[in-house]
């Protein structure tokens, strides 16, 4: 995280993004978002607007989207707030990408539960496909980031790719997901374990088993 830095300001960056403005849809959506906050508190809309801007940038260049400095300046102008305050927000939250990014942002969890359930294998699978931590693949498809816990410990190990989670991974299923994405197809999201729907216990419930079929009063057994 310490090596997160905004893409340096340059004439090329200004030339590419200096004219950034909302598309028709997004302009309406931005008005909608700003209207959610009380008058005089429009600055509160900075986070959703940054997200919207990031998505628009992503749509324009067919990637996950990121925030060039001129785009942050645009958001600051939209909300009539100092640009340093926008930059503070954008640098604080890691979900705002400060530098160009690939089409698929593979965020792989390496925190203890995932690590115990084999996240090292998942990382190896990614590495085998040419993904490198903190880098984008030469074809511009994948950017790999190692992140901390994303709250899917019950179905560890997991990755988040763009807006979807892929859980209960193995090296094989990870490779399959990457292949499918590279081929332009949408793999199944959520758990990859066969026979599992969400995060229900594998192999049936181990607690409250008497309540599976009907209501059961446990109080007498305490």
């Amino acid at each position: 995280m310490a090596d997160r830095h905004p893409e340096p300001d340059s004439p090329a960056l200004r030339a590419r993004w200096g004219q950034f403005a909302w598309t028709g849809d997004n302009a309406a959506r931005a008005q909608d978002i700003i209207a959610r906050y009380p008058a005089g508190r429009q600055r509160s809309a900075v986070m959703p607007l940054l997200d919207l801007a990031q998505r628009q940038v992503g749509a324009e260049e067919q990637t996950q989207g990121w925030l060039p400095l001129p785009v942050m300046e645009f958001v600051a102008r939209e909300l009539a707030m100092p640009v340093i305050r926008v930059l503070e927000v954008a640098t604080f939250y890691t979900m705002y990408n400060l530098a160009p990014i690939g089409r698929f942002h593979v965020q792989i969890c390496g925190t203890t539960p995932c690590m115990l359930r084999g996240s090292d294998d998942i990382m190896a699978a990614c590495k085998a496909k040419g993904l490198k931590k903190g880098h984008t693949t030469p074809d511009g498809l994948f950017t790999l980031t190692e992140v901390e816990c994303m709250g899917n410990c019950a179905s560890a190990p997991m990755v988040q790719i763009n807006d979807d989670n892929y859980e209960d991974l193995t090296a094989d299923s990870m490779t399959h997901i990457l292949d499918e994405l590279a081929a332009g197809r949408q793999p199944k999201t959520g758990t990859q374990a066969p026979g599992r729907h969400t995060v229900e216990p594998l192999g049936g419930p181990t607690t409250l088993v008497a309540m599976v079929s009907e209501n059961h009063d446990y109080r007498g057994e305490w």
Binding site: M1, A2, P82, E88
Partner: protein, 668 residues
């Protein structure tokens, strides 16, 4: 008024006080880094932890905790001691401990508090965080690895200066204080973050590696760069003033100082007049005092003598020059160098009557022909406070960025007599309406119009006087009290074509109009007046003489001598006394004490520190209309006087921050 106990002693504190303030009232010292009385509460350094009952059984940050009835606060318990040691140890984990090469050393809050409250040894062996160097312009030197993230600088620029340019980027351990794209801090109060920074992260760039605080002699002084009269401290070593810092005075400058006042110090040793000069055949030649005084003595001007006072002279100098002119039979005295000629028959009509602290409570303010940020940088934070409390502000004169919401009414001075209906109704209904008349309006006949405005909207009422004139020169009010004003301004003196003109550091005068006069310049810097002078008598700058100054409110303040004037230069009054001998007249004083006594005998108000009483503003039923597009006198906020123009630091500020010319700097 909650009653509570601090370390077993019961005290009563004002409602709304915090626990930290309660402890201070009880005489307990609470260590702190992020808390600052004049900034909002952040509560992020955790150094002010105390034990509070009732409450959770853990130490609490006292700066952000309201004091309430029946609290029992302990600042001396084992829990508090351990908490402070713990916080201090964490703060020092990423602090480089490079005190021997840090300019803050000796006046560093972190140093002092780690001695007082720290463990004394570190248990940390891992690698420390390092932060890449940041640029913040020509005044602020940054060593961001030393930063402890108190965010005082961020809060100062946002809340006091009103210019959001410093921010805290990234998060957690990676947090960094920076300006957007590392641009220079550009506003007129930027260097105050140097004083605010509790560690050596932000230090003064021009002062880097100059001195240690314990080597310096501290002298109290008054700033002469504008008419606010900020209270300053002159830190000197040997014969040189090394830095200027603000002193706390809630009535005047709170604890801020404008950049251009702080860095006058670098001009004090440059371009100095340190020997008398005589113009011989059109060229200035160095001379001795005896030759110079003899040359002036030979003039025999009779009563055809005029004295023009500069913007930075003290009252004693002006009084001595006045006595000299009077002894020669002249009353041609003027201090308004650029040609202003407003009526000065009633000094209340040309003073800042609301007082600087009082203007904060105004609820409707009309700024009439004043670029406040350039002409009185320390007034603008006061106006910001007024606006935060709900005041409305209107501006007549070319628009400038006010840093608070204000409405522009027009550029022409005549607008004041044709206010829009809604503005007029706000002033008519305001409880504490005020007007601030600046030099730009005074030059267009705005004083009468301003007095008319005051009468129309009843600006002077029980417990409130909303009529204010904002001057720009430190010498102005003192000069007016001593009679340095002609009915027609400096034009009268030009018309009289005096044989001899004495310039008291008058560097802003158009001297080409005095081509037929002999010009004797008593000044300290080789600036505009020295170029025009026939005789130059080197004098003392404000740091080199005792003096009385009167600020735009009419507040009389005394400044002390920090160092001796360089070379052959003498204190101004001794030069004027010697000139009296050269002319063969008596002026009635032989020592500085006699001079001051004579001055106080003539103008008693100058003897008492504090606000002079000018009486009531005149009631004006009818006034000549003001007209003309207002222009502001200050073209370059850094180079406003002879000392500033000689200061390389301010020259660099002017070049980089105003004109956008960057000077290459050698790598350190």
């Amino acid at each position: 008024m909650p009653k509570l106990k601090v370390d077993g002693v019961e005290i009563e504190v004002p409602a709304g006080a915090t626990v930290l303030q309660a402890c201070e009232l009880a005489g307990k010292e609470i260590p702190r880094f992020c808390y600052h009385e004049r900034l909002s509460i952040a509560g992020n350094c955790r150094m002010c932890l105390v034990e509070v009952k009732p409450g959770p059984p853990k130490p609490q940050a006292s700066c952000a905790l309201p004091a309430s009835e029946g609290q029992e606060i302990r600042t001396d318990s084992e829990m508090v001691k351990k908490a402070r040691e713990g916080v201090m140890e964490f703060l020092l984990i990423n602090h480089p401990l490079d005190c021997p090469i840090c300019d803050q050393g000796g006046e560093c809050d972190l140093q002092d508090q780690s001695v007082a409250y720290g463990r004394g040894a570190s248990r940390y062996h891992e690698e420390k965080r390092a932060v890449t160097q940041k640029t913040m312009g020509p005044l602020i030197k940054t060593v961001m690895t030393r930063c402890i993230h108190c965010t005082r600088c961020v809060r100062f620029s946002e809340e006091v200066a009103g210019v959001d340019e410093i921010g805290a980027l990234y998060r957690g351990e990676g947090m960094q204080i920076a300006t957007y794209l590392e641009q220079a801090a550009k506003h007129e109060l930027s260097a105050n973050v140097i004083d605010l920074c509790p560690v050596g992260a932000l230090t003064s760039r021009p002062y880097a590696f100059e001195a240690r605080p314990w080597e310096l002699k501290k002298t109290i002084g008054i700033d002469v760069s504008d008419a606010i009269g900020a209270n300053i401290r002159l830190d000197s070593r040997g014969r040189e003033v090394l830095r200027i810092l603000p002193r706390v005075n809630d009535d005047v400058n709170e604890e801020w100082l404008a950049d251009r006042a702080r860095y006058l110090v670098d001009g004090l040793t440059r371009r100095r007049l340190d020997t008398p000069w005589l113009r011989v055949d059109g060229k200035l030649q160095a001379a001795t005092w005896a030759e110079a005084l003899a040359a002036v003595g030979k003039v025999h001007p009779g009563s055809s003598v005029a004295v023009i006072a500069g913007d930075m002279v003290d009252c004693e100098t002006m009084f001595a020059a006045k006595k000299l002119a009077n002894a020669l039979g002249s009353t041609m005295l003027e201090g308004r160098q650029t040609g202003l000629a407003y009526d000065t028959s009633n000094l209340a009509a040309v003073a800042f009557n609301s007082t600087l602290a009082g203007i904060e409570s105004a609820d409707a303010i009309l700024i009439y022909g004043s670029h406040v940020r350039d002409e009185a940088p320390l007034l603008n934070p006061r106006l910001r406070k007024a606006v935060k409390a709900g005041a409305k502000v209107w501006l007549i004169g070319p628009w400038w960025d006010t840093t608070y919401p204000a409405t522009h009414l027009g550029d022409d001075a005549s607008v004041i007599d044709a206010l829009p209906e809604d503005v007029a109704s706000v002033f008519a209904n305001a409880a504490r309406p005020a007007i601030i008349i600046g030099g730009g309006a005074l030059a267009k006949g705005g004083l009468g119009a301003g007095l008319g405005f005051a009468a129309r909207f009843n600006l002077v009422r029980e417990g409130w006087n909303g009529f204010n004139v904002l001057h720009f020169a430190a010498a102005r009010m003192g000069g007016l009290m001593l009679g340095y004003a002609q009915a027609g301004g400096i034009g009268d003196i030009v018309a009289a074509a005096p044989k001899l003109v004495i310039s008291l550091g008058a560097d802003e005068v158009d001297w080409s109009k005095f081509a037929n006069s002999l010009i004797v310049h008593i000044g300290h810097h080789g600036d505009k007046a020295a170029h025009a002078a026939d005789v130059i008598l080197p004098a003392a700058a404000f740091s080199e003489k005792d003096g009385t100054y009167v600020n735009t409110e009419g507040r009389v303040q005394f400044s002390e001598k920090a160092v001796f004037a360089p070379g052959e230069a003498r204190e101004d009054w001794t030069i004027l006394r010697a000139l009296a001998d050269a002319f063969g007249v008596t002026v009635g004083f032989d020592s500085f004490d006699e001079l001051r006594a004579a001055m106080i005998a003539e103008v008693p108000a100058l003897g008492a520190e504090g606000l002079a009483d000018y009486g009531a503003i005149p009631a004006i039923a009818d006034h000549a209309p003001a007209s003309g597009v207002i222009g502001y006198a200050v073209k370059d906020r850094y180079l406003t006087n002879a000392i500033g123009r000689a200061s390389p630091t301010l020259q660099r500020c002017s070049a980089e921050l105003i004109h956008g010319v960057f000077q290459a700097e050698a790598a350190e």
